[in-house]
């Protein structure tokens, strides 16, 4: 088994870009990642492309050069990008290839995502009566969590405010304006207890990562970042999950908990070793819950940690240093590769105004989404 190094990352800014296609954004992200790696498209031996809106992300090859390489398209809900990352890494780990690209791209319309509930193993009426909404699930999950673990509405507002504040420092972010906590709390209640400014928005963007066999990496960069673990897990019976008309009384942990434990084990690294954290913050409540599900604190400790500023860029647990989904929005196929892009910049010391101090060495990224799929990646210098 070969180790895997990330030698290049590239990002097309997240936001709204008029007529520009997702494919063109994806091509821009790949070009940026190739330039960052110092290799050419002709050296790339295979790729995985992830998207929700684009049936065939491999059309990106027509913008980069039709070299005939195997290029596989993946869609796996909000964990799409983690899937593309993991499969590309596996292609190198197995010894089949030396150089590969993972790219994600999307271009969503406005408003909450929708689809056909029948495709999620839910009955058709589940959508007709107005239950087929991810936002409602996240709201119900955090409402119970707040009740059980003493998390306040103010803490949710602090999480969202941090996201926007970090977005100001990120030139690629969609939302680049601070929003005060009071304004977040008093904005329109979309799904109690979550207000409009506590949610991320679907938007547009692309991100790409160039990976290679670890023993080749030093030829291309003085600071290769090693992909120490990448794991995916689906929900087990007993987990309370999105897009389900029922839940079991007998409870089991969320898929993130299993993906996280497996990733720590694979990397031989524990949560105490992590210096920079990227969590799925579809909404402010999800960031709070995911802090505990990924082992960074116990349930309920978030109330104190967030009040103390622990998750700020200068804190001991910096979370979503680039503004996360709240400031960047969520182009589904690209979102997880944006997380990796940010971690790579942070671990190289290239994150500029939002650089985490203290020479961070280990980064952690988690994705979660419909219909109950989680992905975790651990990176280190």
């Amino acid at each position: 088994m070969n180790d895997v190094a990330i030698i290049g990352v590239g990002l097309h800014p997240f936001g709204r870009f008029g007529d520009k296609s997702a494919i063109d954004m994806g091509a821009d992200a790949v070009r940026a990642a190739l330039a960052d790696a110092g290799i050419t498209w002709n050296q790339v031996q295979f790729g995985f492309g992830g998207s929700f809106e684009v049936d065939n992300p491999d059309a990106v090859t027509s913008r980069l050069g039709l070299t005939g390489i195997p290029f596989m398209d993946v869609y796996n809900g909000c964990a799409t990008a983690a899937t593309a990352l993991q499969l590309t890494a596996e292609g190198i780990r197995s010894g089949q290839y030396d150089f590969g690209v993972a790219v994600g791209m999307d271009k969503h319309g406005h408003g909450a995502f929708t689809s056909d509930p029948v495709d999620y193993a839910a009955p058709a009426w589940y959508g007709e009566i107005g239950h087929f909404l991810t936002t409602k699930f996240f709201a119900m999950k955090i409402n119970r969590y707040m009740h059980d673990h003493g998390i306040s509405h103010e803490t949710l507002a602090k999480v969202a405010a941090k996201g926007y504040r970090n977005g100001v420092l990120n030139p690629n972010a969609f939302r680049r304006k601070e929003i005060p906590e009071e304004q977040i709390l008093s904005s329109r209640m979309l799904n109690y207890p979550l207000t409009q400014y506590m949610f991320c928005s679907p938007d547009e963007g692309a991100a790409a990562v160039v990976m290679c066999r670890a023993d080749l990496a030093k030829q291309y960069t003085s600071t290769p970042i090693y992909l120490r673990a990448s794991t995916l897990r689906t929900r087990r019976y007993g987990a309370f999950e999105v897009h389900a008309s029922w839940a079991a009384v007998e409870q089991d942990d969320a898929p993130t908990v299993y993906a996280s434990k497996a990733a720590y084990e694979m990397a031989g690294i524990g949560p105490e070793d992590v210096d920079v954290i990227q969590l799925q913050d579809t909404d402010a409540g999800a960031e709070v819950i995911h802090m505990a599900e990924n082992g960074f604190c116990k349930d309920g400790e978030q109330e104190r940690l967030i009040a103390e500023g622990a998750t700020e860029i200068g804190g001991p647990l910096p979370v979503n240093t680039d503004g996360g989904l709240i400031a960047n929005g969520e182009p589904i196929g690209a979102s997880g590769l944006r997380q990796v892009h940010e971690l790579v910049l942070q671990l190289r010391g290239q994150a500029g105004d939002r650089q985490v101090p203290g020479d961070p060495r280990v980064g952690y990224a988690q994705l979660y989404g419909a219909p109950g799929t989680a992905g975790v990646s651990i990176l280190s210098r």
Partner: protein, 144 residues
């Protein structure tokens, strides 16, 4: 005015004491809602019809504050839409089900409060037919 359930196999109707129609796996006994074609725990295709308890407790809740996109078929417009409550209701020790709540004010809802099943109007079609759906209402509302 004619009244019809939005689907025939979700709750017993017409009925003085309507019940949600779930499924119980004959192999592992797990209860789900609605009755599935196979069991989510063990995969067995042998899932019997099982009527669920009418009363339960509110395990968690939220409000739906914006008009859902299609496939939502409530018939409202942006102008006529009124937020509604949604809860996950624990029915005994059998199962938790997602359902609309008759109460949409979060201040009047509380986790673990007692709720019971009611059948309520969902929308009125052009021909005047009233389409019904299931919901849970706080038990304390009855005497109010």
């Amino acid at each position: 005015m004619a009244q019809v359930a939005f689907a025939p196999d979700v709750f017993t109707w017409p009925s003085e004491e309507p019940r949600l129609i779930g499924g119980r796996c004959t192999k592992c006994d797990s209860v789900t809602f609605p009755r599935p074609s196979s069991c989510a725990r063990c995969g067995s295709p042998e899932v019997d019809e099982h009527l669920l308890p009418r009363r339960g407790t509110l395990w968690t809740f939220t409000t739906q504050g914006f008009l859902p996109k299609e496939p939502y078929a409530g018939g409202e417009t942006q102008e006529t839409f009124r937020p509604f409550g949604v809860g996950l209701v624990q029915l005994g020790d059998e199962v938790r089900v997602e359902a609309r709540l008759t109460e949409s004010d979060p201040e009047r809802l509380a986790i673990d409060m007692e709720v019971e099943l009611v059948i309520v109007p969902f929308r009125t079609d052009e021909d005047g037919t009233e389409v019904l759906t299931f919901a849970f209402q706080p038990v304390s509302e009855r005497g109010a």
